[in-house]
């Protein structure tokens, strides 16, 4: 019996060591990301301005719209298949995507790759940290905010790496993501740290696994979407400034020029948010089924329930805004950020400032 307890304590300790190690590796990844951006700044790219000015000059021409080509070689056809020409939807600004943080600079790109490798390593270490933590308490590692924070950042990085693995153009996420993961972990180990602890019996239900795991996953994906939205807002102002003949500062130019076009960022954010919205809906429903079993009512306007609902409605408003012509772009982006703000408040604010049935976790 004492042996078992000792093993558990050892595991908890191992978990802590792993978490600190992952932080160290994330820190290295952070520096590598920085190096990528710094080396990349040597390259002089002014594609946005070029695209926007040629647009303006070609205003009278038949078409000012830029083209991006999908080229796929037809499988069975003897001849090469005709090219499909695509153009942006009417009314949209058409700007090419930036070249990425490395700006085409070879050394920068090398650092970028190192950053990704380090991020993968850190992810694996952090993941093992979460796993050992779970083993040490013999339950899912979602019992308090410390564990929640760990799982949250692990999943966010996991989503980023999965998108990379799917060959999506998301390397630009690296620096902001790693930076915030470091902040999140820092907060976890300093302020929120809780020794491995017990769960109240209301949490003994398989709905814990279903409801909480999807909640964390949704949060991580919403977070990735929010980063996209913020960068979109920056890039969009930058493009607007250029389109109106302004000259943005050199730093802004250097950084923003390398990001994808505002259109692409906006689409990225939309897709990410839209893809996870049904899962968020499911999370809330799963939560209320569980509440029905555990507390005898499936909906009782408990603060946590209320804020999940608020978050849900805010994201629904965002999706509506996108579906309605007049509300695309910046206005919709602000809605998306408000919605994410609601999510964050539901997570931190409600746990810390508001008492309700969900405040079992302690901090």
């Amino acid at each position: 019996m004492i042996l078992a307890a000792a093993t558990n304590e050892n595991l908890a300790h191992t978990s802590n060591v792993l978490i600190y190690s992952s932080m160290a590796v994330y820190l290295l990844a952070f520096f590598a990301n920085m190096a990528e951006w710094i080396f990349g700044s040597r390259s002089k790219v002014g594609r946005t301005a070029a695209a926007l000015t040629t647009n303006a000059e070609a205003g009278a021409a038949a078409s000012a719209v830029k083209i991006q080509v999908k080229q796929k070689n037809g499988g069975t056809a003897v001849l090469e298949r005709p090219q499909v020409v695509t153009r942006a939807a009417a009314g949209a600004r058409d700007v090419p995507d930036g070249p990425g943080a490395s700006g085409g600079d070879e050394q920068g790109d090398l650092y970028g790759r190192i950053a990704i490798s380090l991020t993968i390593l850190a992810f694996l270490i952090e993941f093992s940290g979460v796993l050992t933590r779970a083993l040490s308490v013999q339950r899912a590692p979602w019992g308090n905010m410390y564990e929640f924070n760990l799982t949250f950042s692990t999943v966010a990085v996991g989503v980023y790496l999965a998108l990379l693995a799917l060959k999506k153009n998301v390397r630009w996420l690296g620096l902001p993501l790693v930076t915030t993961v470091l902040l999140d972990l820092g907060l976890a180990v300093t302020v929120l740290y809780t020794a491995s602890d017990q769960l109240v019996p209301a949490l003994h239900s398989y709905w814990l696994y279903i409801h909480v795991s999807t909640a964390i996953f949704c949060g991580a994906v919403f977070y990735v979407g929010a980063v996209g939205t913020i960068l979109y807002l920056f890039k969009d102002s930058y493009e607007n400034k250029l389109a109106n003949g302004g000259t943005p500062g050199r730093f802004a130019t250097s950084v923003l020029e390398r990001l994808p076009a505002s259109q692409s960022l906006d689409k990225f954010a939309y897709r990410v948010n839209a893809a996870v919205f049904p899962l968020w809906t499911f999370t809330i429903i799963a939560g209320s089924i569980w509440a029905g079993d555990a507390w005898g009512r499936y909906w009782g306007w408990d603060p946590k329930e209320t804020w999940s609902f608020i978050t849900w409605v805010a994201y629904a408003a965002y999706l509506h805004a996108r579906a309605t012509a007049g509300w695309k772009g910046r206005k919709a982006a602000y809605l998306a950020l408000i919605a994410f703000g609601c999510w964050i408040f539901n997570y931190y604010g409600v746990n810390i400032f508001v008492t309700g049935k969900h405040s079992y976790a302690g901090v």
Binding site: A5, S196, K267, I289, A294, W327
Partner: protein, 569 residues
């Protein structure tokens, strides 16, 4: 939004080709004021209410309106806190009261927002459904004049004749499960109608959920009952310790007849490891009778596993210990023998309670008096000399009861509701021990505390019972709510993941007698896969109608419209 230069015509081509690609209402820009007259105003108001812009605003208001309810105490969930708040904030309290901020979710203004939203929703769904039915009955619109303006476009020249190309294209599109038909010189095809089905299903499911929820709120009831092992409960109003119900609830009609007895409660706890003390199982074994005089059945109720009798659910809500005590007067006559529930204070069930002897007791002088004992109970005592009455473990390993004894008037006749776990000591006097200090003592099971001067005694009986609080609730309509919720998820997934798109294939004879094939695709705004899909279609059709050799450069520009303003790399 952004002011890029849109070439003349692009927008209109796209709008025309994309007409009815969704059933979303066309946004009329800015409120045009109606002509005077009641009907004009009503119609204007209705159009505003069912516009997407207003739907958006209402959604936003709904989430904004839900906020105060999460920050201000609500009488529905925590009436005590509301009272505290009102005491602490004498200016804000009445103001909040007026604004309904203590019951936000049933307040007039909150109801107004969601009722407007749902009226808007219905006003939106009905025409959209009709429109969609019309679209299903009709056919995809014919090809716009200038296919090259569309978001994805391809063209080539072939020696196959136009008729042949169109037939092949029609067959191909149908095989790919497009709804396709020949319109003039082009094949028009459309796919992804399930998106609209999903979207409509989602919005209808929202209505189902709302109605189910409202229904549940009106007819629900929820009550609590503390039952000590061996005792029972039958489902009639006076038996409840506390009871809440919806506005249309009728206790005669809606309380289904059943009764149950708590035979035994079992709790086990982790004895080792980091989770030491954590409950492993909570189980209440009960015998219950369904209906007025059904036969008795046995079952057990666990946390997360309520007992369901005719749709009324009985939940295991809390538990604790009840101490059995026997109180005797100075002559040794038993005046009270009761199981007294103790209120748990921490996870190791350190508990507190009050033992009250209301009547039957006469003091040494033979006068009627009441007795009151403040009690502290721990199921696992740390050990003598280790001081405090804090339990070390939730199970009954080393139970100890500590008592303070008082006598006098318990004040129960004053008519005020009393907390069963606390003594009102304002009219009570403490018994004194030999040193003149208030009498108190710690008892092990079976031990007796003697009251001074022949005032009697109290015995802590060996059998310690457990009690359980049951929450008994009934919320009709929850299966509808669940069904609506599931439909909403599937509808939503369909609406967000399915692309509705159109493809046109035009084949005409060019001026030089060679057939020109043009293909174009149009989807909803976020169509990443559209060009890829069009590429596949192009590849397939191209295999059947391969490119003709390049004409001399002087051929007419219409043959190669791609060159027009579009660069291909």
């Amino acid at each position: 939004m952004s002011k890029t230069n849109t070439p003349e015509g692009t927008e209109s081509t796209e709008q025309e080709a994309g007409a009815q690609l969704s059933t979303a209402p066309v946004e009329d820009r800015g409120p045009t004021l109606p002509r005077l007259g009641v009907i004009g105003w009503v119609r204007w108001f209705w159009r505003q209410l069912t516009s997407m812009r207003v739907a958006l605003i209402l959604l936003f208001l709904l989430s904004l309106g839900a906020i105060p309810g999460s920050l201000i105490p609500q009488s529905g969930t925590d009436p005590l806190k509301v009272t505290d708040f009102q005491k602490a904030h004498t200016t804000l309290g009445p103001l909040y009261e007026k604004l309904g901020l203590f019951h936000v979710y049933s307040s007039v203004w909150f109801s107004a927002i969601y009722i407007l939203l749902f009226v808007s929703l219905i006003g939106c769904i009905v025409p959209r459904t009709w429109q969609f039915v019309g679209q299903l009955r009709g056919r995809p619109p014919g090809a716009p004049k200038r296919l090259s303006r569309l978001p994805a476009y391809a063209t080539w020249r072939t020696e196959a004749d136009p008729e042949q190309v169109r037939t092949a294209a029609l067959a191909m599109m149908k095989k790919r499960r497009y709804r396709a038909h020949l319109a003039g010189n082009a094949v028009a095809a459309e796919k992804g109608y399930l998106r609209e089905v999903g979207n409509l299903a989602f919005h209808m499911a929202l209505i189902v959920m709302l109605i189910a929820f409202a229904w549940g709120q009106l007819f629900k009831f929820e009550g609590g009952k503390l039952v000590v092992e061996g005792d029972g409960f039958s489902n009639v109003l006076p038996q409840y310790d506390d009871f809440k119900s919806g506005n249309l609830f009728d206790s005669d009609r809606d309380l289904s007849p059943f009764s149950f007895t708590l035979d035994k409660f079992t709790a086990t706890y982790a004895r080792t490891g980091p989770e030491k003390g954590t409950p492993r199982t909570f189980r209440a074994d009960v015998s219950y009778n369904q209906g007025a005089d059904g036969t008795s059945k046995k079952t057990s109720i666990k946390s997360n596993h309520p007992l369901d009798i005719d749709g009324t659910k009985i939940f295991l809500n809390g538990h604790g210990y009840a101490v059995n005590v026997t109180v005797r007067d100075g002559k040794g006559k038993v005046v009270s023998q009761q199981a007294v529930p103790m209120l748990p204070l921490d996870s190791n069930i350190s508990s507190q309670g009050a033992i009250k002897v209301m009547d039957g007791y006469r003091n040494a002088q033979g006068k009627k008096e009441q007795l009151g004992f403040s009690a502290w109970f721990v199921p696992t005592f740390a050990g003598a000399g280790k001081g405090t009455m804090f339990s070390q473990f939730p199970a009954l390993d080393f139970p100890v009861l500590a008592l303070n004894a008082t006598h006098g008037d318990l004040g129960v006749d004053a008519g005020l509701p009393q907390n069963v776990y606390q003594l009102d000591t304002s009219h009570m006097k403490a018994f004194k021990d030999s040193q003149g200090k208030p009498l108190k003592s710690r008892l092990l099971p079976g031990e007796t505390m003697k009251l001074p001067n022949g005032a009697g005694s109290i015995t802590f009986d060996k059998n310690i019972s457990e009690w359980v609080t049951f929450q008994i609730s009934h919320q009709p309509g929850d299966t509808w709510a669940l069904g609506g919720a599931l439909a909403a998820i599937f509808g939503l997934a369909g609406s967000l993941f399915i692309q509705r798109r159109r493809v046109w294939v035009r084949a005409v004879e060019g001026p030089d007698g060679v057939t020109v094939v043009e293909m174009a695709g149009l989807g909803r705004s976020e169509s990443a896969k559209l060009p890829e899909e069009l590429g596949d279609l192009v590849g397939q059709l191209h295999a059947q109608a391969p490119s003709a050799p390049e004409p001399e450069p002087s051929t007419s520009p219409t043959a190669v419209p791609a060159a027009e303003g579009a660069e291909t790399k």
